[in-house]
């Protein structure tokens, strides 16, 4: 679980806080998605949970951050590694560069923590199996596609068996196939009961996968709730987040009385299809042939 109370943080080179008066509770095993425009504080939040901020960046922080009942400020980052993992935007920079095969790269963190060899082998094999990396085991990490590299980065975190994983826009630099790999890996995390904080831009995926959504704007939480509650809100665009086409279509249709009165605006394909479904039988007969 993640527990943040009244947290503020300012980078050493800045006068404006990157995060202000932040309160956030994510119960164990939940997937919490953080949305917001570039510079809203999503990456900072991921860094705060993993302890790299402010341990590595410096800057001034106030308030309390607890992850898996460990107070982040009291532990050094290397030891936090056993509780919380961080996956960043650029998969390339998460490769240690000091291991020569996928299998060795996966073991890197375990080696650092002094895990015995037999257990290490077992854990590495299990993760390769879960993330379907086994066929790449003897490949150089540098010879993988972006999606495969990001999968490797997720695997290197998963192998540490953390209770919490923070992912900072892990798909932003990937193509569609790479995205699919990453989202499949995310469901593995959830099956394992891992608490996940995911900073994302792809709202449609969010609507399908998230338990809760938090919207940041200029370092402050401006909205929080289930995907249904948050993603249909009219202010979404003013917070710098692209609304779903389903929602836009239903909102415009509602203005012209073409959306069932009283029905909430849809944020998934299913709810959009249900809402429009009642009134499109006529279209199937005539309109669509136009």
């Amino acid at each position: 679980m993640i527990n943040i109370k009244d947290f503020s943080f300012t980078y050493p080179t800045s006068t404006v806080p990157a995060l202000s008066d932040l309160d956030l509770d994510v119960p164990s095993g939940e997937l919490c998605v953080v949305l917001g425009a570039g510079g809203a504080g999503k990456s900072t939040l991921a860094g705060v949970i993993s302890g790299t901020i402010p341990h590595l960046t410096g800057g001034t922080a106030s308030g309390a951050v607890q992850v898996n009942e460990t107070t982040v400020a009291n532990e050094d980052t290397a030891h936090l590694a056993a509780h919380v993992g961080l996956v960043m935007q650029n998969p390339f920079n998460q490769i240690s560069g000091a291991r020569f095969t996928v299998r060795e790269e996966l073991a890197f963190g375990l080696e650092n923590l002094g895990v015995p060899r037999a257990e290490m082998n077992e854990r590495v094999n299990a993760v390769m199996d879960e993330l379907r990396l086994t066929h790449l085991r003897d490949r150089s990490p540098f010879q993988l596609s972006g999606g495969q590299q990001q999968l490797l980065a997720i695997g290197s975190v998963l192998v540490m068996r953390p209770a919490v994983v923070a992912l900072d826009e892990p798909t932003s630099q990937l193509d569609a196939a790479g995205c699919d790999l990453v989202f499949t890996a995310l469901s593995t995390l959830r099956q394992r009961g891992i608490t996940v904080l995911l900073a994302e831009q792809r709202v449609e995926r969010v609507a399908r996968e998230a338990d809760r959504v938090v919207v940041l704007e200029k370092g402050r939480v401006v909205a929080t709730g289930t995907p249904d509650e948050v993603l249909a809100r009219e202010e979404l665009e003013s917070w710098g987040i692209a609304p779903l086409r389903y929602t836009i279509a239903a909102r415009r249709a509602a203005e012209r009385h073409r959306w069932p009165t009283g029905r909430p605006l849809p944020v998934t394909l299913d709810s959009a299809a249900e809402g429009f479904g009642g009134m499109t039988s006529i279209v199937t007969a005539g309109g669509a042939t136009a």
Binding site: A78, A81, M88, F92, N93, F100
Partner: protein, 254 residues
């Protein structure tokens, strides 16, 4: 590196091969004459490279790296060797002197043995197993990390430099002729260095979250095969090296 063919030499413990490289180097330097390093080179290094099936790559690597060094040594020592008197050839203000040339040949051959020994190590050892061996021997994780990262950084930088050059040309930058090439370097270095810095700080964060720098002794995934025969041969090689040093010192003292 050294992954495609797999001979008995490939399967040796990296430490054995490292001891081999160090021993041949010490032995070669122990006797100051040119026939001795040449003998070691022909009787020891070349047969080993044939046995390992890497003769071709071994020769290519030597040619690429040893020849420039040898030429430099030859020019510097040949012309500027102190206390040399026998002029072999006269090039105006510069004179090629016999003592210099002799010294240059000796030095170049010594270097050939040194390079040869270490190239054999590199060509027959997977870098991963070399790193594991280093960790197992209790060498500091930071040093192992730096060595390992250095082994991989060149192709990475190379790829990046190529993309940057393409991007610059795509914006009309011409890189024809010497002037053009020099001019293209300026916009190349910026992104390369800045990019490397961003990469390093991001990577540092990623490494910390994977427990790098945690106190306590790290373990190693890959177990390196070792045997009594190998341990024995390492001891013998170290004795040879010690002997060579003794012979050398004794020779100097006498």
């Amino acid at each position: 590196m050294g992954t495609v063919p797999s001979s008995r030499i490939h399967r040796l413990n990296p430490l054995t091969k490292l001891t081999f490289a160090v021993t041949t180097t010490i032995c070669a330097f122990a006797v100051v004459d040119y026939w001795w390093p040449l003998l070691i080179f022909c009787v020891v290094l070349v047969p080993v490279s044939i046995a390992a099936g890497v003769l071709r790559r071994f020769s290519l690597m030597l040619m690429a790296l040893w020849i420039p060094v040898a030429v430099a040594v030859f020019l510097i020592q040949g012309f500027f060797f102190p206390e040399a008197h026998h002029v072999i050839a006269d090039f105006g203000p510069l004179q090629l002197k016999a003592e210099g040339v002799e010294f240059a040949v000796q030095t170049a051959l010594h270097i050939a043995v040194m390079m040869g020994g270490f190239f054999l190590l590199l060509l027959t050892t997977h870098p991963g197993s070399l790193m594991s061996t280093m960790s197992e021997r209790g060498i500091s994780p930071s040093i192992v990390y730096i060595v390992a990262a250095a082994l991989q950084i060149v192709p990475t930088l190379n790829r990046r430099a190529t993309s940057i050059l393409h991007a610059q040309q795509a914006r009309g930058q011409r890189i024809k002729g010497l002037y053009g090439r020099v001019r293209a370097l300026v916009p190349l270095i910026g992104p390369l260095v800045l990019g490397a810095f961003t990469d390093v700080s991001e990577r540092a964060a990623a490494m910390e979250t994977r427990g790098f720098g945690a106190t306590g002794r790290p373990t190693s995934l890959v177990a390196m095969a070792d045997s009594t025969a190998q341990r024995l041969s390492r001891a013998v090689m170290m004795l040879c090296a010690a002997g060579a040093v003794t012979v050398n010192v004794w020779g100097v003292v006498r």
